[in-house]
């Protein structure tokens, strides 16, 4: 039921908007993020990168300025650990981290009228972070939200009259969640953000 409803909403938003000079284009997104907290994520997940899936709404004005609202989701399970002299020791206790960014960005699209439209912009986001572990007692799991800053740049390609695709590099800086305790504190890593390589498919003119 959710999929037909999403398609209907997409068409509803996309069609009338184009007629008014503003273009409303829903999109779906996949992103691969290289976390700034490289040592921390590597210790827990054996990898300092992770995948985000999400979507949002891209609004353009006069086909030059854009405003974007998007949400995505990251979830991964690893092990609690500690790091000694650069070596990681796992405890075997599972840890699941979930990141849900809600991001608002705006910027400028170059090459009006061309099929490839480079763009650059920035914005702010609200980042919800959840961390659950085995054998946690009250107050030991984490569920918090902090603001972060965003910088992005990339290009959009027009695939057909109704479909576009974009690829960009999207950098987020998210202080306040990491660095106060846990491995991130030991490693002196304070930002939950990092560089994302994003691919989006946009629907609308």
């Amino acid at each position: 039921m959710k999929t037909p409803a999403a398609v209907a909403l997409t068409l509803l938003l996309a069609t009338p908007a184009a007629a008014q000079g503003l273009s409303f284009r829903p999109y779906g997104m996949f992103a691969q993020q290289s976390f700034d907290a490289q040592k921390t994520f590597d210790a827990v997940f054996d990898s300092s990168s992770g995948s985000f899936f999400g979507g949002g709404l891209n609004i353009t004005d006069d086909d030059r300025f854009y405003f974007d609202i998007g949400a995505s989701h990251f979830k991964k399970t690893g092990q609690r650990a500690f790091v000694n002299s650069g070596q990681t020791f796992k405890t075997g206790i599972p840890l699941t981290a979930t990141i849900i960014p809600l991001e608002f960005t705006g910027g400028y699209r170059f090459n009006k009228g061309k099929r490839m439209r480079p763009y650059a912009g920035g914005g702010v986001g609200s980042y919800r972070y959840e961390e659950t572990s085995g054998f946690a007692t009250d107050g030991e799991d984490v569920d918090t939200r902090h603001a972060g800053a965003i910088f992005e740049g990339g290009a959009e390609f027009r695939i057909s009259q109704w479909v576009g695709a974009s690829a960009d590099v999207h950098y987020t800086y998210v202080p306040g969640i990491l660095g106060n305790a846990g491995i991130s504190k030991d490693e002196g890593e304070t930002s939950l953000g990092g560089f994302q390589f994003r691919v989006r498919v946009l629907v609308g003119k």
Binding site: V44, R80, A81, F82, N84, T91, Y129
Partner: protein, 543 residues
């Protein structure tokens, strides 16, 4: 009492019968001392005993030391440290052949000769005249190119100052380490791990002992009569021993494989490491499923009276460490120590580094001499130089759960146990107990011998009689000896959790310790009080 008398009588009768009928088990004989292992009855359990004879300042503690000192006329070094007269520990360089080695010895002393190398040793024993100054000869030998190190064979001693019902009522020490939640994380409690207990032995088997007790003169010059041939019953600690629990037992005091505890210290220490738990009887232990390797490296008064060939010295301890490392131990507990000139135990340091190099974590008592001039603890000091070995100080019952800062203020009083040595070597703290302020409520309780039946040499000569080691009870001890096995137990659980590198085990224990006293590491508490649950759980990303 009637029931106890009946049980004791039955035990004595059965023992005598077994001996008369010529039952034989594993037999070792030396100086008329013979152990018939497996021949004996289950111990009589006396329950909780109000024994106050194993505290640092007790009269009995001093008597035990004094009697042992009289029985072995140790040499006394420049700093007051006792050493075994008549021999040195010498590590010759590999390239020095036997002729060169002998030349070096002859240069340093006229009386010297090189004895056959003992088992589990990477050093030689050089025998010298008992009247020679062993420290001076060692210094002279150490200057020779053929010699890597030479040291007197310093005496080592124990550092005891000196749904389980007692866990609920008397064991304040285990909840202090956050152990209940640690057991949730690891209910196996170290079942795959072997902890070697380098101590006075363990009451690990039922046995019957035949011995010939000679007369002796105590520290006051009082003569105790010879008792002649006696049969002594011996029983395993009922709350410690289960089938398959004891592995690779070895006795370096008697040069055998029957490390029976005639003191009670090693049995008590082993109880803190692995007393049977959740069985509805007695107290609990930290890593209650570990395997135990009794390695006897310390002689008791009874070993001395029985005529043991060796006493607890650096060479014996060094061999014990190597033996444990070579026979599968993952943790070595050393609730033992000695003072003396700094850096004068190269043989022991070499052995500790060997053990750590083989993946063995070592916990060593930090010393009980705070009120006796607070001298440097030589073995504990080694631990502070080796990543993978830790020196453990003692806290008392002021270190309460939830308020463990022990800042020394009225709201957060000091929890430094009054006897616990302080210094640069202290790395961690654990409960060692104290009778001051707390009386018996401040003790560390475990099962060991009922000393009324064991320490008969403390009685007047007319009442002196053969001991019996088949009556046990729950006894309170105090000391860094008692603190150290808490750390060994937590280390065993951590190793079972998958953190096997000794340096990492040490780093984890220190990283997750609850900081006490001054912020950061300090000489009283080291990095702080061990927190078993935090250590086993490790860290998350943000918490």
């Amino acid at each position: 009492m009637v029931r106890i008398r009946v049980l004791l009588s039955c035990a004595a009768l059965a023992t005598a019968l077994a001996t008369t009928l010529g039952l034989r088990a594993q037999v070792a004989e030396r100086n008329g001392f013979r152990v018939l292992e497996g021949v004996g009855l289950t111990a009589v359990d006396q329950g909780v005993l109000g024994d106050d004879t194993h505290t640092p300042a007790s009269f009995e503690t001093h008597r035990r030391s004094a009697i042992r000192a009289v029985m072995h006329t140790d040499g006394i070094g420049s700093t007051g440290a006792a050493y075994d007269r008549g021999h040195l520990i010498v590590r010759f360089r590999d390239e020095a052949d036997s002729a060169a080695r002998m030349r070096a010895v002859s240069w340093a002393t006229r009386s010297g000769s090189i004895a056959a190398r003992p088992s589990s040793a990477n050093f030689d024993i050089v025998t010298i005249d008992v009247n020679e100054d062993a420290e001076a000869v060692a210094r002279a030998l150490a200057t020779r190119g053929e010699v890597q190190y030479a040291q007197p064979d310093y005496r080592v001693h124990t550092l005891m100052v000196p749904n389980d019902p007692l866990y609920q009522t008397m064991q304040w020490n285990l909840p202090l380490l956050n152990l209940e939640k640690a057991w949730d994380i690891q209910p196996q409690a170290g079942s795959n791990i072997t902890v070697a207990v380098l101590d006075t032995g363990i009451a690990y088997t039922n046995a019957t002992i035949n011995a010939n007790l000679p007369a002796f003169i105590d520290d006051s010059g009082v003569k105790y009569p010879a008792l002649g041939p006696v049969t002594i019953p011996y029983s395993a600690a009922t709350q410690l021993i289960t089938s398959g629990r004891i592995v690779a037992a070895h006795d370096f005091i008697w040069d055998g494989t029957q490390p029976l505890d005639f003191d009670g210290h090693g049995t008590h220490v082993s109880g803190t490491i692995g007393q049977l738990t959740n069985d509805g009887i007695g107290p609990a232990g930290v890593a209650f499923n570990v395997k135990l390797m009794p390695v006897k490296v310390i002689d008791s008064v009874w070993d001395d009276i029985f005529g043991s060939p060796n006493v607890g010295t650096d060479s014996v301890v060094a061999r014990g460490i190597r033996y444990a490392a070579d026979n599968g131990a993952k943790v070595i507990n050393m609730s033992i120590g000695r003072t003396g000139p700094p850096d004068t135990a190269p043989a022991v340091e070499d052995a500790i580094r060997y053990a750590v190099g083989k993946g063995v974590f070592v916990a060593i008592a930090a010393g009980n001499e705070f009120e006796d001039g607070n001298p440097k603890e030589v073995l504990a000091d080694i631990a502070s130089r080796v990543q993978g070995a830790v020196a453990v100080a003692a806290v008392d019952r002021n270190a309460t759960v939830g308020d463990k800062k022990c800042s020394g203020t009225s709201s957060s009083p000091s929890c430094h146990a009054y006897y616990s040595s302080t210094g640069s070597w202290v790395e961690l703290s654990a409960p060692g107990g104290s009778e001051r302020q707390f009386g018996r409520d401040g003790y560390i309780w475990q099962q060991t011998f009922d000393f009324r039946f064991v320490e008969t040499y403390l009685l007047p000569p007319a009442e002196y009689h053969a001991p019996r080691f088949d009556v046990l009870g729950y006894i309170g001890y105090i000391g860094t000896s008692m603190a150290t096995p808490h750390v060994s137990g937590v280390a065993a659980m951590l190793i079972q959790q998958g953190i096997t590198d000794p340096a990492a085990v040490e780093a984890a224990l220190e990283r997750f310790a609850v900081d006490l006293g001054s912020p950061g590491r300090d000489d009283q508490y080291g990095y702080g009080l061990v927190d078993a649950r935090a250590t086993l759980r490790g860290l998350g990303i943000a918490r």
